[in-house]
Amino acid sequence: MVAPGDTALSLRDIDKVFPGVKALDSVSFDLRAGEVHVLLGENGAGKSTLMKILSGIYAPDGGEIRIGGEPVPRLTPETASAHRIGMVHQELCLVPQMSVAENILLGQMPKTGLGAIDWPQARRLASKVLDRLGVSLDPKREVGELEVAEQQLVEIAKVLSREPRIILLDEPTSALSDAERHRLFDVIKTLTQEGVGIIYISHHLSEVPMIGDRVSVLRDGKMVGTLPARDVPEAELVTMMVGRAVESQFQRHRGEPKATALEARGLSLRGHFDNLDFKVRYGEVLGIFGLMGAGQAELVRVLFGLTRPTAGQLLVDGEPQNFTGPSDAIAKGLALIYRDRRESLVPLMPPGPNMSLAWLSDKPPWARLERARERDEIKNYIGSMNIEPPLPDREIMFFSGGNQQKVVLSRWMSSGSRILIFDEPARGIDVGAKAQVFALMDGLAAEGAAIIMVSSEPAELSGMADRTLVMRKGQLATQLMNEHTNHQTLLSHAG
């Protein structure tokens, strides 16, 4: 039995090489029983690789893993759970057609004497774990019907039901509201008091002192350093992550806005939003804020022609539009940087073809590809946007989230788009790439592009938007000018 304070897990000189990239370079890391060790790093720094090694999905190419002081020569998903390592993945892996109880107890359902499933017992066990999380969920409900935040809690409950000694949490708060997040923190504290060691991956630097005991930073596959989490300044962490000082994430070099670019008149989509009126002008950034499900996600789809509105009008440059699909919207100068990059890029294509796909939207099928232009432009963007790795022939699936987002941006910049919709542009992107994306956004607005920025991060909107529309249950609740846009005002109008 490991006592609190003892080393629960230690990694020595772990190496992991993938085709074309050294993902982990002699990384050492340790976790004490009863502590929360926060792991920070930009996308592509090696955090996910490290987690996958710990949960037995990848085998390291070199180095030593010790659990409770014992060397573990070969860690597989089976031995990882035998060592009571539990992992909560960033992407949910639940069976939507099954009940909450079945998901929580997947593979360990209690049986009756006759070998049949003991349903009452299963529900009792599931309720017990959920109670520990402080969640009131009916174990009989189908997981597919739950909100994303509730599903995330089921995922955590699933890991807890296996009584782990070491828990890996990969961005567990990305879908949680403020209250749910604090409840999760309470659970984490209870667990650490029971001697469980927790590795906590996050992009939110503000969470580090709230929850962490120690914090380690990875950069480019190397361990930069480990610090006590309580009183380390955020700026220092950012510098460690990025490898240089970052003055400000947000920039403003915009002049006066010009003519109206896009206007919505009574725009409605039944069941999602109703009777929206707003304008965005060239040269400004219009923010749109709302809690999950307020209708902003569907609004984006309607603006870009992915969904037809049920009523109302959309005008571009003063002319009414009737988009039958994204290609119509692109022809009018619109662009969409979508919230889900997996739905924006073709994984097996390299950056160049992913960039130039939008060039084809107004071309007949027999048109010749502009291969030379594609080669030259992507080379320029790789240079000017600092896209890593700088390999134009490598498939986009091998690039990190931030670099993928830059390729999406290059697509629209090279297509001459004038009205750009940024839908949660910083989701799943790290600090360095975030600052770059916002700088590019500001540059586009300064050059006269109209920008609609949908975000659920108040800090991003107060940093970037000239005006922000707040949506509540499918209606426009209010419009806030930049000087009044802050955490409190946004949340008070949205909720």
């Binding site: 085709p19 050294k22 992915l306 890029l345 073709v346 073809p353 796909l357 084809l360 590809l369």
Partner: protein
């Protein structure tokens, strides 16, 4: 934002394994060709009849039909679809063309003599393109799975071919005194040679070259890869997914029609049930040739090599006097083996 990354450090991190990577990519692309060459080498060693002019000519002439089907099939599979109706389209196009060029037709009481052969063939090709486009339109418009739609049209088109021919081979002994024989140039296309190379094989090579060019250099070709690689992403980037789907099935129908008409020349006859089972052989050729069965990666050159692998295998087993019962088992086993090896290598290189 100023970016002062230590660039030499970055370069070191990314360059380490690229040579191994390049080798892996090269193997991925030339794997099917190496397999074909290895098979030919082994068969040349074990059978004195394999590497003879007659036998090689024979193989290429026989393979041309499946190769043509496989070229069109490649477009469909690249978008993540599957076309089970190719052989049926080939049979229908062949029957329509053969009936029109050999038999007098009576339309609304007006007697028309047999059509000029070129016109009859063009109509046959048009029928194939339309049948393919029909598949695509149903799939794109109603969102029915590709497999189900083409499974249905496979049967429908065979039925139409039976109606067109009355169930008899064409040219038919029942056609009466006004019937004319098939034109010589069509027989030549099926059985003749230029400089020792079968005309049918040359037609397949020409179609392959055009298809390769289309996939590599046109907007349609790029859209085909994008739709198969990630349908949603293609749509968001402005690719017309429905239009692309209709076009790939039309291309598949076009290739099938050409295959069917060349087949009429080879057999000197058309019948409604010709090429039954070859739709599966065309799919096998595409997959053995290295095209990803779920779309987004692959190409027509591989599919032709895949068709040759299957053709050479059948021929070799014949030469070695393997019983036809065992031949079927061997062919199926080879297809599974090749695909398993391919997945294994693919997942290895992506981990």
């Amino acid at each position: 934002m100023a970016t002062t990354e230590p660039s030499s450090d970055k370069a070191a991190r990314y360059s380490g394994t690229t040579r191994k990577d390049t080798l892996n990519r090269w193997l991925t692309r030339s794997g099917p060709l190496l397999a074909l060459l290895a098979m030919c080498l082994i068969l040349s060693l074990v059978s004195p009849f394999f590497f003879t002019t007659d036998n090689i000519t024979n193989i290429t002439r026989q393979t041309a039909f499946v190769a043509l089907l496989a070229i069109g099939q490649t477009f469909v599979i690249l978008t993540g679809g599957i076309d089970l109706s190719v052989a049926a389209i080939a049979a229908l196009s062949a029957c329509v063309a053969a009936v029109l060029m050999t038999q007098p037709i009576e339309l609304f009481g007006i007697g028309l003599g047999p059509f000029p052969p070129v016109l009859a063939m063009l109509i046959g090709v048009l029928v194939g393109v339309m049948a393919g486009a029909f598949n695509g339109i149903i799939i794109a418009r109603f969102g029915v799975p590709d497999f189900i739609v083409t499974l249905g049209t496979m049967t429908i088109l065979r039925g139409l071919a039976l109606l067109v021919t009355g169930g008899f081979p064409v040219p038919s002994f029942r056609a009466g005194p006004d019937a004319v024989p098939l034109p010589d140039f069509l027989i030549w296309a099926g059985t003749g040679s230029i400089f020792g190379i079968p005309v049918a094989a040359l037609i397949a090579l020409l179609v392959m070259a055009i298809a390769w060019w289309v996939l590599r250099y046109t907007a349609f070709g790029r859209a085909t890869f994008a739709v198969g690689g990630n349908r949603q992403a293609a749509r968001i980037a402005g690719i017309k997914v429905g239009q692309t789907k209709v076009l790939v099935y039309a291309v598949s129908g076009l290739c099938a029609a050409i295959a069917g008409i060349v087949m009429v020349g080879r057999l000197s006859s058309a019948n409604a049930l010709m090429g039954e089972g070859d739709e599966l052989r065309s799919i096998a050729s595409v997959v053995v040739g290295g095209t990803h069965l779920f779309g987004g990666q692959g190409g027509v050159v591989g599919s032709v090599i895949g068709a040759l692998i299957i053709g050479v295998l059948g021929n070799g087993l014949n030469l070695l006097d393997v019983s036809p019962f065992w031949q079927r088992i061997a062919q199926g086993a080879v297809i599974i083996l090749v695909v398993v090896l391919d997945y294994w290598r693919r997942s290895d290189s992506q981990k």
